[in-house]
């Protein structure tokens, strides 16, 4: 796990604060400088209580995109054509677990990662 992958943008006392919107849309770069995509989603896990949730990983896509309207989830039913189109648009999603995040440049909107893996959970396109 990285010791401190963040570059402070707002420091209040001893606490460094960021906005999740600064992470969404950030460019994702591999260590060799090649571009892996953009942060399209921030996954949180933990609890109990929202204050105990931490960033577990980042969903990365080849383009900056907004909500997928829930069609990327298995339990969401809907017109098959819409579902097929959303799947087509999002066929290249991948996942970066937090442990693979080596550095975040909050002001430059760049996330440097060690590796990008497949998205294998319910959000994966099947």
């Amino acid at each position: 796990m990285p010791t401190d992958p963040t570059v402070p943008t707002a420091v209040s006392g001893a606490v460094t604060r960021h906005r999740i919107s600064a992470l969404l849309g950030s460019r994702v770069l591999l260590r060799d400088g090649s571009q892996a995509g953009f942060v399209t989603e921030v996954r949180l896990a933990g609890g109990p209580g929202l204050q105990s949730y931490v960033v577990e990983g980042l969903v990365v896509g080849s383009r900056v995109q907004g909500s997928m309207l829930g069609y990327d989830r298995r339990e969401v039913a809907g017109p098959w054509l819409v579902r097929a189109l959303v799947r087509l648009v999002n066929r290249d999603l991948s996942y970066v677990p937090w442990a693979s995040v080596s550095r975040i440049d909050w002001d430059g909107h760049v996330v440097e990662v060690d590796r990008v893996g497949p998205l294998t959970d319910e959000r994966a396109l099947r």
Binding site: M1, P2, P8, T16, R19, R43, G47, G49, V54
Partner: protein, 136 residues
Amino acid sequence: MAERTDQPGFRRQYDAQLHLLDRQILDRDGLPVAKVDDIELVVRADGRLAVAALLCGPGALGPRTGGRLGRWTKAIWRRLRPDEDPQPGRIDAALVTGTDSAVHVSASAAELRLDGLERWVRRYVVDRIPGADHAD
């Protein structure tokens, strides 16, 4: 308000955009407070990014929107705020009691004293239109 049959709880995982951003925040009485316009993260001692608060209102939505519209939103909001360095509305994450289609908090809307976009527009735009006091 209709009595709730299923209490909101917490998911094992949240995808911030899908499950939290733009969701309606309801107070302890089920009254709408604001929308989740952004989420504040805090860097913990172990380097992990933890959820600290929900941010609401033009001061949060403007920077998130970005571009000219976002800059204008924030600039107008700052102009109309009496404080020199206004901060967006903030709901501490510890006040969140659970989520379903909305985000539920344990405080009342009055206690939170938030500056949600709808509340802000009503106060600074709609209420200043001549005849607005007859709307009720």
